[in-house]
Symmetry: C2
Subunit: 115 residues, 2 copies
DNA sequence: TACTATACCTCGTACTTAAAGGTATAGGCA
DNA sequence: TGCCTATACCTTTAAGTACGAGGTATAGTA
């Protein structure tokens, strides 16, 4: 563990960002704060995580962006693409699969349910 | 994502290994198979993950080992220490915290419950 | 004898998060 | 005017970690 967030964060920033942008268009700085608030400070992503993730997702075509100036502030708004929605569905499934599997071990169950 | 397991695996091997060893003494090869079976193949840790994790946990005092020969096979059995139990409690909490936080975003809840 | 399962191990790579640091503008306040 | 803070964007560097590949050795079986 580096510091700040507990651990178990592999792939989580990408998942959260895609999910939030699936609901509505947002800009980077807004995502940082939104995630912190919605998780009650349990997850606090730094800008150094959010911006590179946004750029990577845009490059692979999962997001598209438009620059907009609001109150004299230049913002880059991101929204999800069709390809991004499919990616979100895929990784949300993977997330469920892993958490279900871990949960079954934590609860001492002999077998995880297939679905 | 490297390959094999989906992603979201950060810290998971350590958590699973500690949890299984909290129930009973096991050896490395057994852990690999046990995790694969108990998670219905959802999580399949390679030996290249399990053995280094076991060694690291032993060095930090979370596990202790004893060598035992069964049916002509030499095995290294690991069991959890008091320090390991405390570590398990800590990271199990962290796991709960992260999964709860992610879940609240995935469900579109405005606020995660505090506990 | 050869192959498979058991059982242990290490090394190198690839990926990812996170912190730190850097730029620039708007607005409040002294 | 000058200073500080919040907003808003970005990059670089460091450090950790899972994973595959590869390697050794023994027991049992075909």
């Amino acid at each position: 563990m580096r510091q700040g967030n507990p651990d178990f964060m592999n792939g989580v920033p990408e998942l959260l960002i895609l999910k939030l942008l699936a609901a509505r268009e947002m800009y980077g700085y807004e995502l940082v704060q939104s995630i912190r608030e919605q998780t009650n400070e349990a997850i606090s992503l730094s800008e150094g995580v959010v911006y590179p993730t946004l750029h990577a997702l845009e490059i692979e075509g999962a997001l598209k962006s438009r620059r907009n100036t609001v109150n004299g502030r230049s913002r880059v708004y991101y929204s999800i693409t069709k390809l991004g929605s499919r990616k979100l569905a895929r990784i949300a499934d993977a997330w469920s699969s892993v958490t279900r599997a871990v949960q079954s071990v934590l609860q001492g169950a002999k077998h995880a349910s297939a679905f």
